[in-house]
Amino acid sequence: MTAPERPHATRPELLRLDRVGKTFNGDVVALRGMSLQVREGDFISLLGPSGCGKSTALRLISDLMHPSEGRITWAGPQETGDLGVVFQEPTLMPWATVAQNVWLPFRLRGKSYASVRDDVLEALKLVGLEKFQNSYPRELSGGMKMRVSIARAMVTRPRLILMDEPFAALDEITRFKLNNDLLTLKEAIGCTVIFVTHSVFESVFLSDRIVVMAARPGRVITELQVDAAYPRPESFRTSAEYAAYTRQATDALHEAMGEVA
């Protein structure tokens, strides 16, 4: 058996975190000494219990917060629209239609709907909601709202998409479906994803790298490689390979939480 190919090690760097930390109110350490190298095309999961600083890491990367220590360096100039974000809630504007919601990132850059109509419809098509462009969010199911949220995050074709436990509030059947679709989408638009989750299974299925984190203080424990090739079919979920990675990640997580596996 040949060693698995590791294409990510040769891809250009997109973003680098150097011993980044965040302290609140002078004494609450939310994150300590986090280093991470993000390469173009990576699908990185931040996996850990509540309070491990994974959401803080996302807020630091998206520049909603400034690090108390360390630095975050982007390769090349950063422009608005280079970043897409998906929150745990769909976070749609209830007064706007699906298409208007997806238009938002363009609209805030001063682009008229007519000039980006094709991009908006293309994004909706990629998440399978082109027929719902004129619906209001309240008419959609939870899974569909999340699809709109994903369409909004990728409509500008950003270099990096940050996802903060986007599927945590969905039922498992919907979550599996969205996991599959997310991988397809990522391949289609070729972006980089940093994905926060507390589900071992989700992180193994989706990512090529899993950053396992621990709480109090929030910190990185270890980094795991998931070398299974993309595209990953539904059958990957029941494969022996998947079970092995899941085991590995679970052990790391237990260690992170200070328990014996």
Binding site: S62, T80, V85, T91, R109
Partner: protein
């Protein structure tokens, strides 16, 4: 296909379904019929009390006489009604402009809010009847005085509700706007103002009733100064002449105006929110 079919088949309605339909019938029927029955009952009782006790009309007129007066004095009362409605609507318009304007200013600058909010509260809690005489001493124009009084009463609910609404925009959406580099104006226009709309409309409905109250109270205080008189002055005047039926007729017109303003603003609110807001959602079960 089987799912679609099963919902299409006509099944015997179960107990819940029957109860639900019955509630719905009672609801639609009772909403109009019951108040109407109460109204007729009250009118009959009123009429009988007057007739059986032989109460003279300068103490308590019967409903028939009030109605006759309403028709007989219609020309004069209607003219007065127009004056009162005019003041009320102008005050409401100024309350909306002032209330929303101040609210936007407050949310744009915390310093402005901290400086002026206490005084907005003081203006609101001081009874308008106590302020009105002073206003008419310093303000020459009677119309301006009336407007100022009505505005003082009406602007606060618009201000406080709109401020609350502007501040209640979803936090994740705010973050999203920041990430996308939205300007202050964009955040206000695309996020805060739409978020505030339901709150503003709630405040507007209260302000509608209050501006009528403000207009009437101010008229009582101001009296008539050469200008056309409104309904409140007509009530005062009829009171001096012991023309009780006309007082009732004018009162009915004021109450009716209040109801129409409230209904109009409720309708406006429904039309603006029906597509997206929870308050306009119809629930069948």
């Amino acid at each position: 296909m089987s799912i679609a079919d099963s919902t299409e088949t006509t099944m015997e309605p179960d107990a819940d379904e029957i109860a639900r339909q019955r509630r719905k019938r009672v609801e639609t029927f009772g909403k109009w019929l019951l108040p109407a029955v109460v109204l007729v009952l009250m009118l009959v009782i009123w009429d009988r009390i007057v007739v059986w006790n032989e109460i003279p009309h300068y103490i308590l007129p019967g409903p028939g006489l009030v109605f006759e007066t309403l028709i007989k004095d219609w020309a004069m009362l209607f003219e007065a009604l127009l004056v009162t409605v005019q003041i009320t609507l102008m005050a409401l318009a100024v309350a909306v402009i002032g209330g929303v304007g101040l609210a936007v200013l407050f949310t744009q600058s915390r310093l402005v809010e901290m400086s002026f909010y206490p005084y907005a509260v003081i203006l609101q809690v001081t009874p308008i009847v106590a302020i009105a005489p002073l206003i008419f001493i310093y303000v020459d124009s009677r119309i301006a005085g009336l407007l100022l009084c009505a505005w003082l009463v009406a602007f606060f609910p618009v201000l406080s509700n709109t401020t609350l609404g502007l501040n209640s925009a979803d936090h994740n959406l705010r973050d999203l706007f920041r990430i996308y580099g939205a300007s202050r104006w964009q955040t206000l226009r695309f996020l805060q103002l739409p978020s505030a709309l339901p709150y503003f409309l709630g405040g507007l409905r209260i302000a509608g009733g209050l501006s009528l109250i403000g207009a009437v109270v101010a008229e009582y205080v101001a009296g008539t100064g050469g200008l056309k008189s409104g309904l409140a002055f007509r009530i005062l005047e009829a009171g001096y002449r012991l023309n009780i039926p006309r007082m009732f007729a004018a009162l009915i017109l004021i109450a009716g105006t209040g109801v129409i303003i409230f209904a109009g603003l409720s309708f406006l609110s429904h039309m603006l929110l029906r597509k997206w807001h929870e308050s306009a959602l119809k629930r069948d079960h």
